[in-house]
């Protein structure tokens, strides 16, 4: 890994990756600033009978334009999407970070310590990889009252295996390099050698996995909320917005389509970005060291 510019440079030159990054940055900005720009709170109902199920580009009787229309309670979908973005993106990023932390920890210990600890961690990782994620997520979520915290924890706890495998492999290969031996010979403690000398070299593939993990986490949060087992209304998340629009699919397809499209776009951008990172790292590997 040749510093952040070495990885980011080629990604910036790849138009698809650059566009994906731009979309994600915009989504994040909207999520962060949106509620400040919007007027009415998203749970403000008003005259439901007159305002509900206004089609996209339609106006409510009071003359307010609704770009994406309104839902069954007459709430503006753009505003709901902005507020949902805060929840969905936060869950995505936090869950991916949790998975990254567990994965880096487990992978680093397994790869660096070797022996019995390594065998145990590898066995648990393999076993965990064989478990279908969504049924297992359902199980974890069912154990507690569905909500924001358990959604993040459950997605993080079921997504660390890929990171752990990648980090373990990298740590094992870096461990034998001369500079690691040199650090040890200089008297650095194992934890310091691992944290300062080995891990920085092993993080690149973990970051790719994490980029993909954000997309996966967004997709899973929306999926769980869609099943009614994730973020609970009235807190808007993209997933429970899809679920609430599903009942009105005939009458007002836009209520489900708008959040579904946003989820698809966010997940797609994460996956395209991860592809670009992967190509960059693979390209670096081909070059002689």
């Amino acid at each position: 890994m040749s510093g952040s510019r070495g990885v980011l440079g080629p990604v910036a030159r790849d138009p698809v990756a650059a566009a994906s990054a731009l979309v994600l940055v915009l989504l994040t900005l909207v999520a962060a600033l949106g509620p400040l720009l919007a007027g009415a709170p998203a749970t403000d109902f008003g005259d439901i009978a007159a305002r509900r199920f206004v089609a996209p580009f339609g106006r409510t009787p009071d003359g307010v334009l609704h770009l994406l229309g309104t839902d069954r309670f007459g709430r503006d979908l753009v505003l709901r999407l902005v507020l949902g973005a805060r929840v969905s993106l936060a869950v995505g990023v936090l869950a991916a970070l949790a998975a990254l932390a567990i994965g880096v920890g487990a992978g680093a210990v397994a790869g660096y310590a070797g022996g019995r600890a390594d065998r145990l961690i590898v066995a648990v990782t393999d076993a965990a990889l064989a478990i279908p994620r969504v049924p297992f997520l359902l199980l974890l979520v069912a154990l507690f009252r569905p909500g924001l915290g358990i959604t993040i924890a459950a997605i993080g706890a079921t997504g660390w295996m890929t990171v752990a495998r990648l980090v373990r492999a990298e740590v094992r290969s870096v461990r034998t390099r001369p500079f690691v031996e040199a650090a040890g010979a200089l008297g650095a403690r194992p934890t310091r050698v691992l944290a300062r000398h080995v891990l920085p070299h092993a993080l690149a593939p973990a970051l790719v996995a994490a980029a993909l993990g954000v997309g996966n986490a967004i997709m899973l949060e929306a999926g769980l909320s869609f099943l009614g087992l994730g973020v609970q209304p009235p807190t808007p998340s993209w997933g429970n917005m899809i679920a609430s629009g599903r009942d009105a699919l005939v009458l007002a397809p836009w209520v489900a389509c708008a959040p579904a499209a946003i989820v698809a776009i966010a997940v797609l951008c994460c996956s395209l970005l991860a592809d670009a990172f992967e190509r960059t790292i693979a390209g670096e590997r081909v070059l002689p060291q």
Partner: protein, 330 residues
């Protein structure tokens, strides 16, 4: 071969055991009391205690675990708390539809994925290749529930709205029409097939897009190998070079991938069965989770994990059939 298979089978035991253990302790340590849920809030403490005793929920957790594990392994999966019938019966009813749905979509996934990927590899760097690359990248990233809702919108509601011919108006709910039991055998089969189309297509579309990306990469790689040049040099036709030499070698990683993708397939099944009200294991699991039906949740999670393990073994076996080198080391 059979010894290697046995060893793999033995290695799969810890996975299933881990699932069972986590499931058991997780469900029992979590808040939420199945007895209360079953009896309702108005039941008095004596009735609750009596039921707890009847279900064995008043014993020490370790005792409950070992007892449950022993009975589980011998095929006694207890009774569904919500449905008042054996778990084996509940899951037995749901197993067939899920196997049908996943089996069919797996077949379609790899038939489609192989075709698309092979065409892309042969015509690599053409406009067709670029288009298919873009399309598969987008479709592969779509969540199953988004694709499913999209198909429902178009084929169930849109078809009626736009006056499409009757055969294109596909049912979006359930595994059979309301009057299916009164139909003749041929009509009943047709009804079944029509109900299968949308859920199968949802799973197969997403899967095929992912598979095509992988097939393209591994076929391009195989076409670069010296043995392909050799095959061409000895005068074989391009079709034969592709089918017998390049694709056969490109298939190996694809078969392994198919095994590794099974967990994702079973994750998709949960959403697809919920959207299309397909009476399978995914839907049963979601309902059991919502109702805290412990025995059903535990058994279905274990069945899902076991299916993944069996699927991986089958994938290994298929890889051995394709590649003599894999037989000795498996």
């Amino acid at each position: 071969m059979s010894r290697a298979l046995l060893r793999r089978l033995w290695a799969a035991v810890p996975t299933v055991l881990l699932v069972l253990t986590v499931t058991f302790f997780g469900l029992h340590l979590a808040p939420g009391d199945p007895v209360r849920l079953f009896l309702g809030p108005s039941a008095d403490e004596a009735a609750a205690a009596q039921m707890r005793r009847a279900l064995g929920l008043d014993r020490a957790l370790a005792v409950q675990y070992l007892d449950w594990l022993a009975r589980f392994v011998t095929g006694d999966w207890g009774a569904s708390i919500a449905q008042h019938r054996p778990v084996t019966a509940v899951l037995g009813d749901a197993f067939g539809p899920t196997l049908l749905l996943t089996g069919l979509s797996l077949l379609l996934t790899y038939a489609l994925g192989l075709a698309i990927g092979a065409v892309q590899a042969v015509r690599r760097h053409s406009r067709l290749d670029a288009t298919l690359t873009a399309v598969t990248a987008v479709v592969a990233a779509l969540p199953a529930y988004v694709v499913g809702l999209g198909l429902v919108l178009v084929f169930a509601y849109g078809a009626a709205l736009w006056n499409w011919p009757a055969w294109l108006r596909l049912p979006a709910l359930g595994a059979a029409g309301i009057g299916a039991d009164f139909l003749g055998p041929a009509a009943r089969l047709a009804d079944r097939v029509r109900h299968l189309v949308l859920p199968t297509a949802t799973l197969a579309l997403v899967g095929a897009a992912g598979a095509a990306r992988f097939v393209r990469a591994s076929t391009v790689e195989a076409l670069r190998q010296p043995f392909v040049r050799t095959a061409r040099a000895k005068g074989l036709g391009e079709t034969r070079v592709l089918a017998r030499h390049a694709l056969r070698n490109a298939l190996l990683p694809v078969v392994t991938l198919a095994g590794l993708q099974l967990p994702a397939l079973f994750s998709g099944v949960v959403f697809v069965e919920t959207i299309f009200a397909w009476p399978g294991m995914g839907r049963v699991t979601v309902q059991a989770v919502l109702g805290r039906d412990y025995p059903v949740v535990m058994a279905s999670t274990a069945v899902f994990a076991t299916l993944v393990v069996i699927g991986n073994l089958l994938a290994d076996g298929a890889a051995a059939l394709l590649d003599p080198r894999a037989r000795s080391t498996a």
